[in-house]
């Protein structure tokens, strides 16, 4: 079998999500390999963001389970954890399709908020910090350095003291990734990171993601419509259509899969019977 089944960081098993009568995801299973960049693609309304929301605790799945295996051997059943614990303990970080930054706070503050949990411990749950103990002051300085590191990687360092809402769109996208990385995740879920970016920015994004994967031992799961990003950087592609997985494999395999072509482009009239037979209708 392929590498992502040998050592998966996240395993999605028989995931089903129903909203009333609507089945958004139907019995979906796939693996996210450790250290891989995995792309989740599919036409609009295929249920990609719903998978993300299940994995990050914003929805509770109707059926199925999501197993997160951290590199230290700990195992988490994500469907049972409240959303904030998924980020804090299971180390799953995410970004949002419609960017959610703390607009009235500076860029640096955004990254400091992301380091809330370690800083809370360092400040003895605020008490030590309030009394001005040195432990917290060191931790605070380290947190600023950590934030600076990510600002440098995302080319935002010179604008660190500007409010996040003043940044242009592409920079906001990068800041959101930097903020997610500041939580020290083992898997980074990106919801359409290249949406609205120009080709140059897309290219920079590719480099950033490759860098994150290489230097930080972080697996990446991304939803993306921009095929130049998907085919360029991903190791593994999962294709959804109407909540059902229709293809799963390397970018090349997926590109030539007739199901995928049918889902994206439709088929010629004379091929309908043939395809239907193949799909099993």
């Amino acid at each position: 079998m392929t590498q992502w089944n040998d050592n998966p960081v996240l395993t999605v098993e028989h995931l089903t999500m129903r909203f009333g009568g609507l089945t958004a995801i139907d019995d979906l299973s796939f693996n996210v390999g450790r250290g891989d960049i995995t792309a989740l693609i599919g036409p609009n309304g295929a249920g990609k963001t719903t998978v993300f929301n299940c994995a990050t605790g914003f929805y509770k799945p109707t059926e199925g389970r999501l197993v997160m295996r951290r590199s230290n051997g700990e195992k988490f059943l994500l469907e049972r954890l409240p959303d904030f614990k998924i980020s804090a303990h299971a180390k799953v970080a995410r970004t949002f399709q419609n960017i959610r930054l703390f607009g009235g706070m500076t860029i640096l503050e955004n990254l400091m908020v992301a380091q809330h949990n370690p800083l809370m411990v360092a400040s003895n749950w605020t008490l030590g910090g309030l009394l001005g103990l040195t432990g917290y002051r060191h931790a605070n300085r380290d947190a600023i350095d950590h934030a600076k590191y990510w600002l440098e990687k995302t080319n935002l360092l010179d604008r660190a003291d500007l409010p996040a809402a003043e940044l242009p769109y592409g920079d906001q996208r990068r800041l959101e990734i930097a903020r997610a990385m500041c939580t020290g995740p083992e898997i980074l879920c990106l919801d359409e990171p290249a949406a609205g970016l120009n080709p140059k920015e897309s290219l920079e994004l590719n480099e950033l993601l490759m860098y994150i994967r290489k230097e930080h031992d972080t697996s990446v799961l991304l939803i993306e419509h921009d095929m130049s990003v998907v085919m360029e950087i991903s190791d593994h592609v999962v294709v959804l259509d109407y909540g059902v997985k229709i293809s799963d494999g390397t970018p090349d395999e997926v590109k030539n899969d007739p199901h995928v072509i049918a889902a994206y482009l439709g088929v010629d009239d004379d091929e309908v019977d043939e395809i239907e037979e193949e799909v099993g209708l």
Binding site: T56, G57, F58, D83, F84, K85, I86, S87, A88, A93, R94, F96, R100, L101, F102, G103, G104, M105, T106, L108, E109, M112, V113, A114, Q115, H116, N117, L119, M120, S123, T126, G129, L130, Y136, I144, K148, A160, D161, P163, A165, E166, R179, A180, T183
Partner: protein, 444 residues
């Protein structure tokens, strides 16, 4: 073809003002025009007094007011409000003025009683020091509420409940167990924080308007319990004879062993007033220092992040329930401290002191001062509470002036007097404040 003619500014303004005047007429006809009164004399009959002039005045005021607002603020292409805010110092210079203003205000606050004593003498300055105590109490309450509303963005309309819990904690502990003020002060704060958490648990799943309504109800519940639990709280009779605070064990009394005797001064009742003033000043400053420090700590940043975007907070691993609860509890604690000070200053408390209007005044101070701004709260309390008391002679009109002031602020500075937000952490030294239109108000 005939193009649709855009109505001229004057025409549309007059039309709009006319509509406003008509609505006023319809409302005022019954509510202002007819007043039920009791006839003096033996019969004590009810009769209706007609006041058509008052109706006319109301209608004319609304017509003229709306016309002017339409002409100069709402309708024109370059409203006067923009020109007006141009007169205000811009964000940068405002923060600089703010920086210079803080030590000046502090020095004034510290020197105030002595300056007053110097100019007016013990007798003449008493009422002004009393007023300063009142203003400082509201500053402290405003700072306490600022944590909840300004930083965490949770709209709390029942803040006075914690003020009441603090006041009654001290009064009851003193009455039943004979505890002194200095023991009760921390206890009152802890009890108020405890009630803050008890209220917070069920309430903080609500957002926005719902949260506001439930906190409002909680404020009323506390007051009504205090009013009706006659055996325990004395109900409407209140609690009197609440002990006064001592100065490190020295009581403010005439004769041996008193404060004046110990320091070799002539006894004067002003000593106690001045002591109370410094007490509340220190309590308020502690509130301020704690809040300013908390803003720079992870918990404070989490509050502000919560106000900006709760979902993003959760995606970053912040326990939003606990974060909201700490904001609620801390705000409540400072309310409790202020409450126990209120009890010891007055020597008498009754549920009447803790009505909804108090919550509304404190909230108004925070909102008019500028959400999240500490210096704004000071200015707003001085203007609102101080102004309110200063113009006591014009009793009839001060509500009117109060209302007009509010409308003026709403038109001129809708985000409060001091609306720029200072970043809690910066890389460069000359970082600028964040303009108010970028900062969220919170959704509850």
């Amino acid at each position: 073809m005939e193009t649709v003619k855009k109505p001229s500014l004057l025409e549309s303004s007059v039309k709009d003002a006319g509509m406003g005047a008509f609505v006023t007429f319809a409302l005022a006809l019954v509510m202002v025009g007819m007043k039920v009164d009791v006839a003096s004399g033996l019969g004590a009959e009810l009769f209706i007094e007609y006041r058509w002039t008052a109706v006319a005045i109301a209608v004319v005021t609304v017509f003229v007011g709306r016309l002017l607002l339409n002409l100069f603020f709402w309708k024109p292409d370059n409203p006067l409000a923009v020109n007006l805010s141009g007169l205000m110092p811009s964000g940068d210079s405002a923060t600089q003025i703010g920086k210079a203003l803080k030590p000046v205000l502090l020095i004034i606050a510290i020197a105030l009683p002595f300056a007053l004593m110097f100019w007016l003498g013990a007798r003449g300055s008493r009422q002004y020091i009393d007023l300063a105590i009142l203003v400082t109490t509201y500053i402290m309450l405003g700072w306490g509420l600022n944590i909840v509303v300004g930083l965490a963005g949770l709209l709390d309309l029942g803040y006075v409940a914690f003020y009441a819990v603090g006041a009654y904690s001290y009064a009851l502990l003193a009455e039943y167990f004979g505890f002194s003020f200095w023991i009760c002060l921390p206890l009152a704060g802890i009890l108020a924080a405890f009630w803050g958490i008890i209220l917070g648990f069920p309430v903080l799943r609500l957002r926005g308007d719902y949260l506001a309504i439930v906190t409002l109800a909680f404020g009323e519940i506390i007051r009504i319990v205090l009013l009706n639990w006659y055996q325990f709280t004395g109900g409407p009779d209140g609690i009197s004879g609440i002990p006064r605070p001592s100065f490190f064990g020295l009581e403010f009394k005439r004769g041996d062993g008193g404060f004046a005797d110990f320091f070799g001064l002539d006894y004067s009742s002003i000593h106690r007033i001045i002591f109370l003033y410094y007490l509340i000043l220190i309590m308020a400053l502690v509130t301020n220092i704690v809040t300013m420090r908390l803003r720079r700590m992870p918990i404070g940043r989490a509050w502000e992040a919560l106000r900006e975007d709760e979902i993003a907070c959760r995606s970053l691993g912040i326990n939003t329930t606990n974060t909201k609860l700490t904001a609620f509890a801390l705000g409540a604690m400072f309310g409790g401290f202020a409450g126990s000070f209120f009890a010891t200053r007055q020597g008498f408390i009754s549920p009447e002191s803790f009505t909804f209007i108090e919550s509304a005044v404190i909230l108004a101070i925070v909102v008019l001062g500028g959400l999240g701004s500490q210096i704004g709260v000071v200015i707003a309390s001085v203007v609102m509470i101080g102004g309110f008391e200063f113009f006591r002679e014009f009793e009839e009109y001060r509500m009117l002036v109060f209302g007009m002031l509010m409308v003026f602020i709403m038109v001129w500075k809708p985000r409060g007097l001091v609306s720029t937000r200072a970043p809690s952490v910066t890389l460069s030294k000359d970082a600028k404040g964040i303009s108010a239109d970028l900062v969220q108000e919170g959704h509850g």
